[in-house]
């Protein structure tokens, strides 16, 4: 069965530090990849997505992610974090060839940015 692993459960950074959150998935076929963010007290929002094409995807608020097919990875990066990036980040995958768009989510990474 498809699974998504996020290895960092809690990350604490100072402002201006660089961020990289890991995401690995288990399926070897065609995948759509997503990062969602949940700010404190708010609903889940899409940060960025990858369907096809350029494996380096840029999203909102300066975030980017790189799809590396050979490593089954879709790591999230930001060169310089801000206090306002404090949130929980979820990686998600679905399989378009399956005929459904059911998402499988990772367990999430809680990021705390210290001012």
């Amino acid at each position: 069965a498809q699974s998504v692993s996020q290895h960092n459960h809690h990350v604490i950074l100072s402002e201006a530090a660089s961020l990289e959150l890991g995401c690995n998935y288990s399926y070897g076929g065609t995948v759509n990849l997503f990062w969602y963010v949940q700010y404190p007290g708010q609903h889940l929002q899409l940060l960025l997505k990858y369907f096809s094409g350029d494996p380096l995807v840029k999203g909102i608020k300066g975030f980017e992610a790189e799809f590396i097919k050979s490593k089954f990875s879709f790591n999230l990066r930001k060169p310089s974090v801000q206090w306002s990036d404090t949130a929980e980040y979820f990686c998600a995958v679905n399989e378009p060839d399956s005929g459904t768009y059911k998402y499988i989510f990772g367990t999430g990474t809680r990021l705390k940015v210290l001012a």
Partner: protein, 113 residues
């Protein structure tokens, strides 16, 4: 509506009671999802509706859980004979048939006491 709307936002119920959680998807969205978010567990898939197709119920944890979607729009998730382990935030999401990006509601926080 402008976004996915869920009600109630909070629900406290006694163990053994039945509860119904409601989701109003974005108008025109054909796909609707229910997920459960427990502390430290991430988002657990429960059920997925797509148009008139049979729903994917593969994530429902027990036969106490059921969901329906009336008229291809509003959905209700029902939990019968609630247990304390059912306490979680229940999230609903919808997406258009044009692409898989899903939009989430604020969720219903269910507490079983």
């Amino acid at each position: 509506g402008a976004g996915v709307s869920q009600s109630p936002s909070n629900k406290v119920t006694e163990k053994g009671k039945d509860v119904e959680l409601r989701c109003d998807p974005i108008s025109g969205h054909t796909a609707l999802y229910w997920y459960r978010q427990s502390l430290g567990q991430g988002l657990e898939f429960l059920i997925y509706f797509q148009g008139n197709s049979a729903p994917d119920k593969s994530g429902l944890p027990s036969d106490r859980f059921s969901a329906e979607r009336t008229g291809g729009s509003v959905s209700t998730l029902t939990i019968q004979r609630t247990q304390q382990e059912d306490s979680a935030v229940y999230l609903c999401a919808s997406s258009s048939g044009q692409g898989p990006e899903a939009f989430f509601g604020q969720g219903t926080r269910l507490t079983v006491v």
